[in-house]
């Protein structure tokens, strides 16, 4: 009995940490897709770029892990702006297919570029002492890094929730997701809003990419392998919904971890089974508009 409880706590803890990673990386994708209906398959490439920035900053330039995360996020956020302004903007009215092709082309180019500079071997990142080893919470010890992920995730969720629900800009974003034309006609500058959320979403993706290095190691194929997960979180959660993205990240993170603990051979089978069931019942995701 004791043992089962132990395993359940471990699964819940790891699942939660994984869910936080999924949420941080996917939330930007969800909001930008909700705003513009733009299928952005290059989102994983932005996350990967953030990861490699963190590797270079810590390994070659001697920055600490946390400052590197911040610098990488800001840098990727800024880099994403010209992409949105000059490439994505041309295809907002185009079909799904054209958006898929453009962004997958960008992802391929990013993968090739990073393979050229960093090679295909997985990269790791040096962690400060306080993120290594275990942290004792009284009744049992947990890995510090995962605890850090959960705390960081919780903080970001509160900040985003506040920004989304309680500030002027958040209200404008919600209005634009609900009804873009109406928002435009009452004078909201949706284009500018979109550039801002796109940059913020890419910055968060870069943060997620930096955080992922310790969890999975970083290779150039990150851009495609994990992209599928981010898209799933977005589709299951419902486009443009903060609540939905969080719920989807939790469900998928915990299901996937449970599957890997109890039935290691089944691999990703569980997560995709969950996706199929949810989307067949609710095609627009948990909190999406039908």
């Amino acid at each position: 009995m004791q043992k089962i409880a132990q395993i359940a706590v471990s699964i819940l803890f790891d699942g939660l940490a994984y869910a936080m990673f999924l949420f941080i990386t996917s939330v930007g994708l969800s909001v930008t897709m909700g705003l513009m209906n733009f299928v952005n398959l290059a989102h994983g490439a932005f996350a990967m770029t953030g990861g490699y920035f963190v590797v270079t900053l810590t390994r070659s330039l001697g920055f600490g892990f946390v400052p590197s995360l911040i610098i990488a996020s800001v840098a990727v956020g800024l880099i994403s702006v010209p992409f949105e302004r000059y490439l994505y903007r041309r295809l907002y009215k185009a079909t799904d297919l054209e958006q898929v092709l453009l962004t997958i082309g960008l992802a391929f180019m990013a993968i090739a570029t990073f393979t050229y500079f960093y090679g295909p071997i997985p990269k790791s990142v040096p962690l400060p002492d306080w993120l290594q080893g275990d942290i004792n919470l009284g009744f049992r010890a947990f890995p510090s890094y995962r605890a850090f992920l959960i705390v960081l995730g919780a903080v970001l969720i509160s900040v985003l929730w506040y920004g989304f629900e309680r500030t002027n800009i958040g209200a404008k974003i919600r209005a634009a997701v609900d009804n873009r034309r109406m928002a435009e006609s009452v004078g909201i500058n949706v284009d500018l809003l979109f550039t801002l959320t796109f940059a913020l979403g890419s910055a968060l993706a870069a943060l997620g990419g930096g955080l992922a290095i310790q969890l999975f190691g970083l290779t150039p194929s990150f851009a495609v392998i994990y992209l599928v997960l981010f898209l799933i979180v977005v589709a299951v959660g419902g486009l443009g919904s903060l609540k939905g993205t969080l719920l989807a990240a939790l469900v998928l993170g915990i299901f996937d971890t449970t599957g890997k603990y109890l039935l290691a051979d089944a691999g990703g089978f569980f997560i995709y089974a969950v996706v199929l069931v949810v989307l067949l019942i609710k095609p627009a995701g948990f909190y999406g508009r039908e």
């Binding site: 092709l101 082309g105 089978f269 996706v275 095609p283």
Partner: protein, 335 residues
Amino acid sequence: MTKPVAPGQAARDRAAEFLIRRHRLRWPEVLPWLLAIAAFFLFPDRMTFGSQVLIAVMFALSLDLILGYAGIVTLGHAAFFGIGAYTVGLGAAKLGWTEPISGLFAAAIMAALIGFASGWFLLRYRGLTLLMLTLATAIMLQEAGNLRSDISGGYDGLPGLTFQPVLGVFDYDLYGHTYFLYVLAALAIVFFFVRRVVYSPFGQALTGIRENVRRMHAIGSPVHRRLVTVYTIAAGIAGVAGALFTQTNAYVTLTVFDFDNSAKVMVMLILGGTGRLYGAFAGAVVYMVLEDYFSKLSPTFWQFGIGLLLVLAVLFARRGILGLLEQAWPKGKKP
């Protein structure tokens, strides 16, 4: 006394005449087949590669049916290629079913069945949801294969398969000459079948669904049934392509279900041009030849090049290579 003419008869006649005129074979259509036969005599030592190109053409052709004509955007078309590949592979490895031509039929039927079952559920959805559902289907099949790697051979695959000579007479030679002609014959049969489908009233309805699904609903077209039908046909053809892949390579691994495989076939089709039958030929040949050449030089540059090609194609040549050719010689017939 003239016979009473049913109302709308004239319009119906015009429509029939339009379809018949479009279906008529045109002279330039001989060209790809002549080129294939010319390749057979010009590059006798590259026939193994040649067969792979023809298989890619067939796979891209099946995608053209659903993507180019019906407008279904899928990220999981490799699922059906994989089903076909494994039908033949498992048949040969476990059941000793090594007759190649009946293997193709078995693969087509299996893939079509899975296509029908998944299409029945999935084709109610559009956009991102459909992309995710098709993607999840392909990955789930891959994971299921991995789960039972005692049967499927997992990622190590089923190596060293052997097949009987084609028609019991033409045995396989070291240079793959028999294979090339065998695949070419299969491709020709599949192509003329697809051509017939596309120029039929059914094909016309598919184009209508692609262009304006609401209007098709409004005029009473059974949209869902049509989509499921074409999805099933395309799945069957992709299954045949997969079966040929297993037969010509004499092995198969779970990588046939990879997302890369689905993406690759889409890139080929887009490069060639969608919704125009011969786009699959142009795209697959150009892609495979470029890949063969550049990936030997540097796989990294090749991947960058493919990415760049896609971006440029979307921005400047949305109708692919054939679209560009048409622009260059606007005298050519309108499709």
